[in-house]
């Protein structure tokens, strides 16, 4: 039997926690380069092991049966889920893990409140306030992440679901939660557990209502924001429990999530508030997309596409989420391999919000063994576009729409795009002319130097690769 040896908050425990969070920081630091990132992840995991073992050795930690049960169940689920998940499903997996983290925070806060009440109810404000914060944010994060998961997994429609008057409902909920928190804080000599549970429930409803109306294209922003939330709630739990490891680790995640959220929002030329509350990309915007119909465009087959590509010097591939959906990353890599055999320079232009979470497209291409040196960021690739012979757009839409640059009235005006229309020729592989998430027509499809290849991305790429071989 393990004997409790460390005093909570004592020097030895704190020293071990310092070791743990230093390893977290080192681990993330190593994540700045693809070749060291894997080791960095290991380092962070070792840090976590140190933190867990330290805690298990704390005086007062007991109920070993329950701990073993929780650890056993959680570890099993975590291992199985992480082995089974496909790379295309990574965003929902992260959303789910994020959700359970938030759920854990909310439950711990509840337990803390009950513990405080059972000790006579007099909870000092410096513990009560972070506990309340952890409860609210943890609960919002849990439910919000679950909705995000359900949307990404297609369990519920990815289209924005508008609840009538939802802004008002959200505001009322938020004010209600705040008022209830103030009430508990003011009566900190005798906090009401019923009121606390009401706060948890109201926060749960808020989490649902905030994420439900958000469209699939905005998921990268939402997931990073929820990640930041869970981090901050973990830090708050650290304040409540006076646990330095929780404070540092939670804050680290909070700031990383915040940075990513802001980067994503910038990449879409929208504010975070706009993403959360505008319900952009809604179904009704049928204006230019639905009415006119049939603008002239050029349609080609795989063979023509193969010829265009085979006689180019430089080719840029612009992958979008459609590529992920079609699982076409391997087939596209084959096309690239064929082209490289012919001495053609191939690179990939990655828009910051391609895919369903920041950097998602890079992971998918890495899965297909595309060397990361070939992955170019938007700012890097745009100046090269006029010198590019053929740009191939695979399953991307709004992020290539020249209207963002040319048409100040467009709903996506000002959004940074990959300027494929500057390339000598453009091939768009897409199932149809249908609009993307923004619900607007893509002018790119009708430009004279654009050829449309209507097909499933995976099939089309396989056909093109075969045709190039035959040339």
């Amino acid at each position: 039997m393990i004997e409790a040896v460390l005093k909570p908050g004592g020097d030895a425990a704190t020293a071990l926690y310092i070791v743990a969070f230093s390893l977290f920081i080192l681990g993330v630091r190593q994540g700045t380069h693809p070749t060291t990132a894997k080791r960095g992840n290991m380092i962070a995991a070792v840090g976590m092991a140190v933190a867990v073992v330290t805690t298990l050795l704390l005086d007062g930690v007991g109920n070993w049966g329950l701990i073993a049960l929780g650890l056993g169940v959680g570890t099993t689920v975590g291992v199985v889920a992480s082995i089974r998940v496909q790379m295309t499903s990574m965003p929902q997996m992260v959303a789910l893990y994020n959700g359970v983290g938030g759920g854990a925070v909310a439950l711990i806060a509840w337990s803390e409140i009950r513990h405080g009440i059972s000790l006579g109810g007099d909870i000092p404000l410096e513990e009560l306030i972070p506990t309340l914060f952890a409860a609210v944010v943890g609960s919002v994060s849990f439910w919000g992440s679950n909705i995000a998961f359900a949307k990404l997994q297609d369990l519920i429609p990815t289209r924005p679901l508008a609840v009538p008057g939802q802004q008002v409902i959200n505001a009322v909920l938020l004010i209600g939660i705040f008022a209830a928190c103030v009430d508990i804080a003011v009566n900190n000599g005798d906090p009401s557990q019923g009121l606390f549970i009401a706060i948890l429930l109201a926060a749960a409803l808020l989490g649902n209502l905030v994420v439900l109306p958000i469209g699939g294209a905005d998921m990268p922003v939402v997931i990073s924001l929820l990640n930041a939330f869970t981090g901050l709630s973990a830090a708050a739990a650290g304040f409540a429990l006076h646990n330095v490891a929780l404070i540092v680790a939670g804050t680290l995640v909070g700031s990383s999530g915040t940075i990513l959220t802001m980067e994503m929002a910038t990449a879409m030329n929208r504010s975070v508030a706009n993403v959360l509350f505008a319900g952009f990309g809604g179904a009704p915007s049928g204006g230019p997309a639905g009415g006119g119909e049939e603008r002239p465009h050029v349609s080609i087959g795989a063979q023509d596409a193969a010829i265009k590509l085979a006689y180019a010097d430089t080719v840029v591939i612009v992958p979008g989420y459609g590529l992920a959906v079609a699982q076409a990353q391997h087939a596209i890599k084959e096309v690239a391999d064929e082209l490289e055999k012919r001495g053609i320079t191939v690179s990939y232009a990655i828009h910051p919000v391609a895919g369903r979470m920041p950097g998602h497209m890079n992971v998918l291409l890495a899965e297909a063994d595309v060397p990361y040196e070939q992955l170019k960021e938007m700012d890097e690739v745009n100046p090269e576009m006029p010198r590019t012979d053929v740009a191939v757009v695979v399953g991307a839409n709004d992020v290539t729409n020249p209207a963002a640059k040319n048409d100040p009235d467009s709903p996506i005006a000002g959004m940074p795009i990959i300027e494929v229309s500057e390339a000598q020729q453009v091939i768009v592989i897409k199932r149809s002319l249908s609009p993307g998430f923004a619900g607007i027509d893509n002018d790119l499809f009708y430009e004279p130097n654009t050829s449309m290849l209507f097909a499933d991305a995976k099939q089309a790429a396989a056909d093109i690769a075969a045709e190039i071989q035959n040339l």
């Binding site: 992840n41 933190a51 570890t75 990574m90 990655i350 890079n362």
Partner: protein, 106 residues
């Protein structure tokens, strides 16, 4: 530890977080997010602590679920990150220039 000491730690950690994470290239944002996601699984420590002073059935249940949730978050998070990063490292033939720094641009 006094509250103000804790706040100091919080503020410094926030700055460290900003500094370290802003150096991560976009290529690695998904693994980064997944890794930081695993790191906030550290809330499991809170579960371990509260289950220690749980003293009625409801608290046992709450604490155990919190631990299970935290463990899913930690184990799943680190393993999935490892899988993703494995894809970045298995490169059949390193490109000609040994340095291989992305973002050379022109």
């Amino acid at each position: 530890m006094s509250v103000m000491t804790e706040v100091t730690i919080f503020v410094l950690a926030a700055f460290v977080g900003f500094e370290v994470i802003s150096k991560v290239p976009t290529t690695l944002h998904t693994p980064l997010m997944s890794q930081t996601n695993a790191i906030h699984g550290i809330v499991m420590l809170g579960g371990l602590i509260v289950v220690g002073y749980a003293n009625d059935p409801l608290e046992y249940v709450i604490g155990t679920i919190a631990i299970a949730f935290g463990a899913i978050n930690i184990v799943g998070g680190f393993m999935v990150t490892d899988r993703m990063l494995g894809m970045f490292s298995k490169k059949p033939k390193p490109k000609a220039d040994g340095d291989g720094k992305p973002g050379a641009g022109k």
